[in-house]
Each structure stands twice: as C-alpha cells, then as structure tokens.
Subunit: 449 residues, 2 copies
Amino acid sequence: MENLALLADLYEFTMAASYYQRKMFAPATFSLFIRAYPPNRGYFVSAGLEEVLSFLDSFHFGQEDLDFLKATAPFSDDFLHYLGKLRFSGDLFAIPEGLLFFQDEPILEITAPIIEAQLVESVAMNAINLQVTIATKASRCVYAAQGKQLVDFSLRRTHGIDAGLKVARASYIAGFVGTSNVLAGRSYDIPLSGTMAHSFITSFDEEIDAFRAFAETFPENAVLLIDTFDTLSGAQKAAIVGQEMLRQGKRLKGVRLDSGDMASLSKGVKAILERAGLPDVQVLASGGFDEYKVAQYIKEGARIDAFGVGTKMGVSADAPYTDIAYKLVEYDDRPVLKLSTGKETLAGKKQVFRIREGGRLIKDIIALRQERLEGEPILRMVMKEGKRYQAKEPLSVIRSRFQQEFMTLRDDYKSLIKPQSFPVELSPGLRKLQRQIVREVKEKELGES
Amino acid sequence: MENLALLADLYEFTMAASYYQRKMFAPATFSLFIRAYPPNRGYFVSAGLEEVLSFLDSFHFGQEDLDFLKATAPFSDDFLHYLGKLRFSGDLFAIPEGLLFFQDEPILEITAPIIEAQLVESVAMNAINLQVTIATKASRCVYAAQGKQLVDFSLRRTHGIDAGLKVARASYIAGFVGTSNVLAGRSYDIPLSGTMAHSFITSFDEEIDAFRAFAETFPENAVLLIDTFDTLSGAQKAAIVGQEMLRQGKRLKGVRLDSGDMASLSKGVKAILERAGLPDVQVLASGGFDEYKVAQYIKEGARIDAFGVGTKMGVSADAPYTDIAYKLVEYDDRPVLKLSTGKETLAGKKQVFRIREGGRLIKDIIALRQERLEGEPILRMVMKEGKRYQAKEPLSVIRSRFQQEFMTLRDDYKSLIKPQSFPVELSPGLRKLQRQIVREVKEKELGES
C-alpha cells in the first residue's frame, strides 16, 4: 500500500503535538463502533479490517510528509523528528471480517501509545465504514434474491476508484458471485463477468449484425444486450442468432435486459427463447436494481436468472453512511467516556460474547475485556505490538464465514423494511463501571453529586 | 497517476476484442451527460475533468495487465499485443470545471478510435460522477450558509480514500474555505483546518487541563471542543482559559460545538464568551450539518461563525448518485442513438450555447457541434490527438470560475427544495437530426414506416 500516513484530519496532528509536548505517551484504547442502525437495518456485516491492518503494517512518515507538516502548522522540530521515527506498535482486537455485528458493539479496539492510536483514526474509520456499509447493503440484496445470482456492476458510479474496488470486495464477501470490475477481479481474485454495452449495438448498422459479431468473437460466453431499440424485438433477433449458433454446435449463453418493466418483459423474452428451442439461454437483468427492486421482481414472478446490481448497491443509496465513531475508552489504565448529548460512549476495553442455541444466533453481550461470560468471545487479537497476529485471510474464507453466520440469523432481523432489533445486552461488569464513571465525571466536570 | 487501465468493466474488453476481430477502428464519439436531476437539484457543477485528463495522459497496459486479461477471457494474442501498444489518441471537448451545467447537456465528448473511447468509459464516468455530485452538493451548502465559512470534515466517512481526497477538492471548488484532510491539503493545495477531538479532552484528568494544554501548544490557533460533558459548562471553562491567555497576551481563536441543539446552545456560548470579555472568540459548529441543517440554523439565528460540514456533504447523503451516462452518439461519421425505454439518447457530436443577459444566465441551447448559434459555446477542446490542449488549470482558477458563474444563476434555480428548472432547449439542427435518426432506426430495427 502506498504511504497514506498523511491521510488524517489535521486535528490528529495538532492533538499529537500537544501530547508530545506534555510527554503523554501512555497507552490509549480507542473503540470503533456504530452508534445506531441506518434506516431499515438491523445488523451489520464486518468488513474492511484487512485494509486497516495493511495500513498499520506500513504506517510511517516520509521526509516529504514531514516537510509538508512543518509548513502547515507550528509543529516543533522535536515533534517532527519523533514522527519521522514512528511506526505503529499497538495491539488490535477485532471482529473478523464476514461475521455479523450489531449497534454499539466494538468492531475494532486499538491499544497503543496515544499519539499512534490517534493518528490512525481517519483511515481506520474510513476503511471500516465503507466496507461495512456496502457489505451490509449487498447482503440485503443477496437475501432478497433468494438464490438468484447477483453480480456487482457498480464501478461507474461508486464514489471514486478506491470505492470501486472496495465495493467489489465487500459485495463478494456478502454473497455476490462476481464483479464487472477488472482491476478488482485481479486485486482480490473475484470472478469477472461482462456482457456488452448499447454502444456496441449502435456501432453496427443493424442490431443483429452486432449480435452476430459478438457471438463470433465469444462463441462460448456471449450475453447479448437486447433493449437498445425494443426489448421483445431484440429478443427475436437474439433467438435467430441463438439458432444460428446451435446449428454450428455453439450455444448462446444469455441475453440482458436493461430498461422498461423487466419483470413483465422477462416473461415475454423467455417465451420467445423457448419457442425458438433455446430454453437454456439465461436472462440477465440490470438497471436500477437494489434489494427492494429485486424483491419486487421476484414477487412478480420475473423470469430472470441473474441480476447485475450497480449504483444503488455501490453507494448504498438508501443509507450511504453509518454513524460510526472512534472513541477513547481508556487512557493510562483509566476508563474514560464522553457524555455529549445523544453520543454518550461506553468506557473501558471490551469484548463481545455471542450466544448461539441450536445453530441460531440468540443474543450478544457487550462486556469488559477481562470478563468471562457464556458464549463465544468474537473480538480476536489480530495485531500484537504492531505485528499481525495471524496471516492475511483469503477472501474465500471471509465469504464462507459470512454465508454460515448469516444463515443463523433469524429472518425477522433480516427484513428489508423495519427489521426487528437483535438483542444486545451490556454485561453486569460493564454496567457497573459505566455507572461509576458517569457519576465520577458528573461530579468532577459538572459539579453534581 | 498509477496505471489504472484495468479499471474498467469487463464488457469494455470483450467489446474491444470483437471490434478488433472485425477491424472496426473508425472514430467514435461518446457523450457523457446526466439524464435527470436528483431530488431537489436544478443544476450541476462541472468537476472531475482534470482526473479524466490525467488518466488519459498515462493510459497504457503493462505486461501484468495483459497477462491477467489473457487468463481472464478467450482474448486472442493479436488483440492483447494491440492493447500493449495502445495509447489514448483521441480528442476531448468538455465543459470546464467550475462552470454550471444542466441535465442532458454533454459535460464531456470523447472522439477516438472506438476501442480507445470504449476502454476509458468507466474511469471517465466514475471521475466526473463523483466530483459533480459532491461539488453540486457542496455548492448547496455554500448557498445555504449565506457567507458563513464552511470547512470539509468528511474524510472519516467518505466512500474510501480516493473519495476523501476528491470530496476535499470538489467542495473547495464549490466555495468551502478549507478541509481537515491533510493529504488533500498537500495534493491540491487546499487550506487546512483542524481543532481537537473528544479523545483529547478525555485523555486528561479534567476538561480544563486539556484546554490549557492545547492552548499552550497552539497559542495562536487553539479551537477548543466544549461539548464533551456539557456544552455550557465547557464554554465556562473555555472562557477561563481564554482569559488566562489574554493575560499572557495570547488570544483564544475559537470554540467548537458538536452535539445537542447547537442553534440554541451557540447563543448561550456566545453570551458566556462576551461576558468574559472574549467577544472575538469564534464559534464553530460540527455534527450532522448539510445544506438543510445549515439553512435551518441560520434561520433560527444561531450565533455560529463557521460550520464543519462532514458526512452528509461527503457522501451527498440525500442524492448519493446521478443518472450519469456515457453513450455512443456517432460512429464512423454516422450519428447514432438508442431508444431504450426512458433512456433515449441524442445523436451526433454536440455543443452547448449559453445565453447570458445583463450578467444573468438566461438559457442554454444544446446544438450540433458544427452549428453556430447565439451565446457562448461552453464545451472547449481540452485534448487533441491524445495531448492536452491547454495546461492543467490551477484549482484557484476553477474555484473563482465557479464563484463568478454561480452568482449569475437566479435564486429560484438554487432553491434547496424543489428548485425551478433552468431552461435548456434543443437547437433546430439537433431536433431535425434526432427526428430523422429516430425514424430511420424505427424503420430498420422495428419494421415501422
């Protein structure tokens, strides 16, 4: 990964300078969590951890970075020299990618000298926020599709290049079968999928010429886009080409619909293909799909075998952000919190215990790190003293983990509209500590007793 | 820019392979435009062109790219060899960054051998879509702020790293005064701004200790975050520190509010500061701001001098995507179009003529490229035969261009809610060509006469 140490909010550097001046190098624990569900969400899918680990692995400031900082704010030479030698030396506990998690649960806790833990804030939040947002959105599409295949088509309208890659990765974790994004396919070893654009059709004199040319180049893999002028008329021409291919011992793979009422059109298209003796030609659909539209089409009995899902998944259009936070919960062995209206945090290092019964998720308990409760502790040590504590996980492992975990979540927590809230409790130890710290803080800061 | 030639949808390569096999190397013109306004939008801000030019400048395939393609699909060695030698050799006409544009108007037209023009589709769309979306959103915030200063605070929740940088750039074009994103500041020469986080407060034993420490490190630039425990109580402590600074001949720069009803709280905070003899201490506010909340706060008479605007601007939360399209409009000197339901395109190479009267924008006319109409032709040649036709524009020039242009747009086109539609007409020449091509296509493809 290129050097991204400057990818931080300026206040991380100004705070660091002040910590440095006061020689505050004690360990701090920051907790990364999401305060509330976006609309129509009742769970989150863990994703993005690998990007954080990769960033921390290579965290350092180059001379150019230091020169820029020197010109930016009144930082002392001592402080800049200190930054020049800084590497990330902390410990990370995290919920593995592919597992579910719920609101208020720490997905990640970083313990490191406070300057280090503070300087990595923005990248850690950015990486986790994007991939969690997209993996969660994509998992809803997968749930809605009831076994039909989904392919990521979002590259052209994701928020930038990095998002184009990360959306392919996160949607693959959540059960998409592939992506159209070639660089993502190479970067993450995700299966690639592609058809043709309208421009291919219109660059030929006639639509059927375009179909024949494409079938000639890709006799095994041709998927013909049939809505450029009129979907049913396009299907007739695709059927002619499909029959020509059959006579040559080839097989037309599929057709794609991209506009109009495709739930209804798909039935007409399938009938045309069947009448032409081409019952195995797949019908793909794309154009404005998300979990809501996929669910509606399936309800209407659309004869669609696979969906290209693009923009609305790729930007999580109905919930493009989460209320993610990165908060100091302990400094120099002292549990801390803030009380800001609507944003009160939970003090102390934590663990989450997941209770399963009969292969089902029952509830989670957020506890203090050192508590030992029933259930499985789902935050694992992933970095120790700045070194990865385990090898990089293959994407296929993460994808399988999600698939297995998601099956065990009850359907009413997965509803596309107003899902039930999964039960998340606070442990007795955490509740007691929280009451104590809130009382202390109110006495100290607000003069209450 | 790193090599991003593989950042494309797979279909661009499969189509290219088919064009190659049929020796289709004639020039094609693709038009990049937005089909419709997102909710509550009545204009767009041009942005993102520089990224497209930079991508085209360096467009090439490395041996690794070709090896990956070879393993991905049945591409011929001849075709891969051809790709290995390919550089972008086309012409670009574009609306300069910072100008306004409207729905259906081409922001960019690329004319190049069809394979080249097709292979750059995804990056061109992605780059323009993101920056237009954000610059447009940010301009609405600037309009709502009525002269109050806005700073980009979005990095932690933008969709990835690339978006973090581009959001800083696009919002600066639209009139933000700076960003908190240090790498964006360096990359684009944007003023940086930063305060402190709640973690800084909670890492000290008491809030006032944190204030004093920060004031000591930054005696000229300290902005104290005062809502960690209670905003008004925090303001009292900030006032004490401000008075201490005064006695040392220093000046507290500002305080920041980040939660609660800040419209109301800001009045109390300002009163506390004034009573303490600190009337010049600025009040900053952050936390969930967008154009709607900024407008509401100003209406309520909030005593806020500047806003940190983050997430909702950085993801354009109420309109996170546009219906952007990249469509073939001419191939081998033949104007073409598609008729897909709801997505009919306009044929032919185009120009947009902008009519101004008395320093006001009156209307635009979309015309054929060779037409000569009244008004200013706003698409300019920016690349010729693969070379930039003009030097890279400084961001300050683009920012000034926007500022001047935006002033000339009537307020009813800028309304935050349901704005009027700016008048955009089609020229007689374009309308005639469009009727003719639609008739020809319907005869040929649908058997209509």
